[in-house]
Amino acid sequence: MTATLSRSVPIARAPRRRRPRSRAAAWAAVAVIGFFGLAPIYWLVVTAFTPDERAFTFPPSLVPTEITFDHFARLAQNEQLFGYLVNSVVVSVVTAFLSVLVSAYMAYAFSKFRYRGRKSLMHLVLASQLFPQALLLVTLYAVFSASGLLGSYGALILSFTTFTLPLCVWMLKGIFDTVPSTLMEAAAIDGASRWRTLHQIALPLAAPGLVAAGLFAFVRAWNDFIFALTLTDPDRQTLPPGLVHTYLGEFQTAWPDLMAASFVVSLPVIAAFMFLQRYLVGGLTAGAVKG
């Protein structure tokens, strides 16, 4: 005991002050990274409020000299964009739901059961992430075409779910690993079935991870361009191809309108992140350290 106390003395010492030079370097790093992260967003917002003829001023002005709301007014009148928004919400929400549903069961099975081929299966799931997704487009196109799903929401949702599953499964497996198996055993002793143990004990404990996995799947589906453009009919396309379709033309790009639309459509995602961020952070880190 004495030895323990004497060893703890250096730890109890007041923490050394960080050198001003290293602090300055840390702040410089934050400033540089912050600039690269925030400058495009600043430019997006500024351009969204800049009149068309001022948007192409050379050299460009960092601070807007004139402000207009015309681009937002035009956006409000564009019914087609509202359709793209609805498609995005439908596809992203269903993808998030399906991804969480399937990956939760898969992850639980990988984490809490021991059976032949378990590790191989786990690595197979992860290996599917190694293929560039664009390469799978042609194959998926043929599969959906042959199955009659091409052009439907189903084609998009199935392909997005397929892509998000590996990461979701591994993320949730890490979280289920942290749930003590003794809890499951106690539940079994109390007469709970496996089904009940999963739904009433394991899943509630993994809730932050489920939210994180759902958000990941939602954002993946929300941001995709090439699959959303290729696998659906024009009237079922989501916002990314919809915005390109609407504002990027053969001869010119309506940059201020595009920026205004991008600004508005990013608001729901920002709101979702702000609302769920504590789950997201908790979920992403929960499986990182095993207790």
């Binding site: 196109y141 075409s145 290729t230 390109v244 609407t246 033309g249 053969e250 001869f251 010119q252």
Partner: protein, 426 residues
């Protein structure tokens, strides 16, 4: 009777699902390449990027509606963004999902024609009254696979106000006069780029007409001549302009338009739509009145000015509704009232002699000047005959950029470009 346990039942279900999936993916008995559907059907598709472009969609939709009402047919329209259009159309044609009429950029014709699914429109072309240069844009290996919808060219545009301020009298006709004009403009200062030429790799294919100006054919038979003395001289001249800051680094078509619209460039290369595009970006509402098309300067007096042919064609996919689609393509591209009205709305020049002579078109000075000075001698890019033409252009552009930034000599760079391009000739 033997009963299945749960594991065996799962295994059986899995195998069944796999079998069903494989069966679904298998090609059908008709074969992927055979035309499908009833050619005489009265319903067909029309795929066009213009159907979703703000400046053109109303005009294109009006043509679709007018033909549907007149012909008693149903036209299902579809659209993809221009930058993704070729990929999407290729994928859908390969997958048998594309039928009817399809708008194409003339540079894409070879890529789609190579798939062997396009209908020969020779009969429609023969009675359409198209100009020779327009018809050539829709021809592939001797077959008329596309009807020309609009035919123009990529040429030089000048800001006459800047030239006047710089003391440049008249439009430069030779390369030497052009260089003199650029040097005079450079003396104006004020951040003006004398010639907003393409210097980004993505747009450096614009140098090809200059290589031709210096005497390189680019392609002789199937032999790439990039790397010959003429093309090397063209690139060295371009590099000289670059070093003298008469052309600016990191410029593509969009940058050049922005510079020109702001009155910060005296010359740049663009298609005939330049007037509308630049006007929309410019704070100077009188800029269009100061814009003048000019024939690309020649190496020596008497040479033919070089320009790149540019335009759109309508092709028809063999199969479902192809007869009506071919008639629609003919109507959209050669009915004089239709093409004149289309020109009035979007300023894209028609392709028939009668269309060009219509007062609505002939009365437009900018268009007639452009046609006379630039389109008249425009020729297609010889590499368009290859499905991999874009990679060939990129191979050349990347090497020209290496010269501009001083990483390579023109001779070495173009020799390397030709070597890279050789296997892409297919």
């Amino acid at each position: 009777m033997e009963t299945l346990n749960r594991r065996a039942a799962f295994r059986l279900a899995g195998l069944s699902a796999l079998g069903a999936a494989l069966a679904a993916c298998a090609p059908d008995a008709a074969g992927g390449g055979a035309p499908k559907g009833d050619a005489a059907a009265r319903t067909f598709g029309f795929t066009s990027w213009s159907l979703n472009e703000e400046a053109q969609k109303a005009a294109v939709q009006a043509i679709v509606d007018a033909y549907a009402a007149k012909g008693g047919v149903k036209i299902d329209t579809a659209s993809f963004p221009y930058n993704e259009y070729l990929n999407q159309v290729t994928l859908k044609l390969r997958g048998g999902q594309l039928s009817g009429a399809v708008q194409l950029d003339i540079s894409w014709l070879a890529a789609l024609a190579a798939m062997g699914r396009l209908k020969d429109l020779g009969a429609q072309a023969a009675k359409g009254g198209y100009t020779d240069v327009a018809l050539s844009s829709g021809r592939f290996q001797g077959r008329q696979l596309g009807l020309p919808w609009t035919t123009g060219s990529i040429g030089l545009v000048a800001n006459t106000e800047i030239l006047k301020k710089a003391g440049v009298e008249g439009m430069p006709a030779t390369v030497e006069e052009f260089e003199d004009a650029l040097r005079k403009v450079a003396k104006l200062g004020g951040g003006i780029t004398p010639y907003a030429a393409a210097t980004k790799a993505a747009q450096l294919k614009d140098i090809l007409p200059w290589m031709r100006t210096f005497g390189s054919p680019l392609l002789e038979g199937d032999t790439i001549t990039v790397g010959d003395d003429a093309s090397v001289a063209a690139v060295e001249w371009y590099k000289k302009l670059y070093d003298a800051k008469l052309i600016a680094p990191d410029v593509d078509r969009f940058d050049a338009r922005a510079l020109f619209a702001q009155g910060k460039a005296a010359f740049y290369d663009d298609a005939i739509i330049t007037r509308g595009v630049v006007a929309a970006q410019s704070p100077d509402k009188s800029l269009t009145g100061k814009m003048a098309p000019l024939a690309r300067p020649v190496l020596k007096a008497g040479d033919t000015p070089q320009a790149l042919l540019w335009g759109h064609v309508i092709v028809v996919v063999e199969g479902e509704g192809s007869d009506a689609a071919a008639d629609f393509a003919s109507y959209a591209t050669s009915d004089t009232a239709t093409v004149a009205a289309f020109f009035e709305k979007v300023k894209l020049p028609p392709t028939t002699t009668a269309g060009l002579a219509d007062p609505k078109v002939a009365g437009d000075t900018f268009t007639t000047e452009w046609t006379e000075k630039i389109t008249k001698t425009a020729t297609p890019n010889p590499f368009w005959r290859y499905a991999g033409y874009a990679q060939i252009e990129t191979a050349i552009a990347e090497q020209v950029q290496a010269v501009l930034v001083g990483q390579s000599s023109a001779k070495d760079a173009l020799a390397k470009a030709a070597e890279t391009a050789k296997p892409l000739q297919k």
